[in-house]
Amino acid sequence: MQTLLFALEVSLNGFMTGILYALVALGFVLIFKASGVFNYAQGVMVLFAALTLVGLQQGIVPFQHLINNLLGTSIHGFGWNMPTFLALLLTLLTMLLLAWLVEKLILKHLVNQNPVILFMATIGLAYFLEGFGDLMWGADLKKLDIGIPMGISDTVEQTTYDWFGYGFFIDRLDITASIVAALLVIGLTIFSQFSKTGRALRAVADDHQAALSVGISLRRIWVIVWSIAGLVALIAGIFWGSKSGVQFSLSLVALKALPVLMLGGLTSIPGAIVGGLLIGVGEKLFDFMVGPMIGGATENWFAYVVALVFLLFRPQGLFGEKIIERV
């Protein structure tokens, strides 16, 4: 009984982690659906958004190291803390600007190229942003705190203790993240089903040429999707950043989102959520049950191997569109 409850607690925590994976995966799916680009840089966008938020909030002077090196000064901060709301707004503006620049400088020039070329271009973008973010705000580990409740939730522990005689440890941050993720998915669904722009997005996802022929501007749509992906990245960045601090390793979360995508299918928003939950719960449970027998730290590769084996049987993932190829 004790083990069973413990396993339940582990899978509940995995569920929460899975939601955070799904948040990152969501950004990938949005861009892939609308432009056929597999955006490897999504993870670095998460990092970049979190870095910018922290930097603005703490009043760090952008490019301070570069400026100090060039001019021999020693500037470190503006000496004030920006209100969280203002910082969030400015970060969002930065992400919109980034989306616009990406379209203007990269995507526009790579229209009609092989998808693999576009994929590699986003790897290049990922490297660029990674260096740029570090150069702008410094590479040290930063603490992100925008007032989200953190720590063990006493209510959950007390309730479960009353029910089972065993208190579950659930982080309040994870609960908030789940609620926000659910709201985000509902919001995105409403947006894409009931707004004019949303309809245009779905048309582009269905067929680029048909969408062009009824007068939808592809380039405008691309800017919009990249902006939405930027927003999703910001939200994912806030939660991951509050959870584990803001530094380079945050962008590795994106690598975890890839198997999530494969499992759920590249073109399906519900797929990203379900895939995220499956991977989150699966890797925690696997590490809990099998991990101790084979040396632990199986979380590093479990997701990839599951995706690999799964793809062998169903190459388009759980909810993806069936891949039809013609000569």
């Binding site: 570069l66 590699m120 271009a121 790897i123 290049g124 590479a139 690598l255 198997p259």
Partner: protein, 358 residues
Amino acid sequence: MFYREVGEFKTSYPQDSESFGIGLDKYGYYFVLFIAFVIIPLMINDYWASAVLVPFLVWAIASLGLNILTGYCGQISLGTGGFMAVGAYSCYKLMTSFPDLNIIFCIILSGLITAGVGILFGIPSLRIKGFYLAVATLASQFFLVWLFNRVPWFYNYSASGQISTPERSVFGILVTGPNVQPWAQYMICLLFAFGLAWGCRNLTRGSLGRKWRATRDMDIAAEIIGVNLLQAKLSAFAISSFYIGIAGALFFSVYLGAVDATEAFGINQSFLVLFMIIIGGLGSILGSFIGAAFMVLFPVLLKNILVGWWEWDAALATHLEFISVGFLIIVFLIFEPHGLAQLWRLLKQKLRLWPYPH
């Protein structure tokens, strides 16, 4: 005016299918070989060997391998680091289990072992394509590195979890270990790089190479005209992993001497090799060498200028390196998707017509 086919009389079929058909090309090639095999070993010093030449050759072998898979056969792989780790660890196990076995055979055998592992991870490629495959190869990257970190048998139960190379010699000349001469280090890498590049050239222009290219251009069409996809894809995986395994073995035994799986063979190495073949040129042997040279020299140069001359922070130089590498990748993909090798090809085409271009 000088660089042209006119005046080159071919009198037999073997002559007609030479790799370097034009006289100037051929002499240029011999000249480069002469410099590489005779001049450089005489002038080499420790800094040049360890900072530039040896890593250049090792990475060139790895990018040859990835180029076979990605450039010629069209299968994207992000598992290069993991396969290099297989090469390195099998070389280590062979060297320590059979102390009398010559290091040359150890390295070749570890290439063969890696080829076997490559086939295993290549099997999904028959059903999975494009990005899906790229992500599937990530599984090999993470799983293999984890395996070498967690199973003590692979690192002979050493306390640090690192592997370090014992001293081995070829014909009485020390080639591995801390006391090795720079020229010996350089020569063994050069011999492997030369042999493998020669093999790659001849494989890719034969029937196997044609099958690979047909698979790359459109695999369903290739299947319809009679290419056996199973054979083509798995042979590409096997041969590519053989090259990458040898690169990994040399990287560990000759170049670094002591490695830790997470640091030396992480995902960044996979990307590094991918960048080399994008910048150098997909599907080009010369491109693999140019790309490797570029990606090895560029950080060294940047560091020397920024840190050495202008006395900036080392961390700043690293950030700038990331920025400029990412920038260059995008620029190359937009303006010259076939890489630096294509520029060289264009230059030769221009030279052939010069000075009367019409």
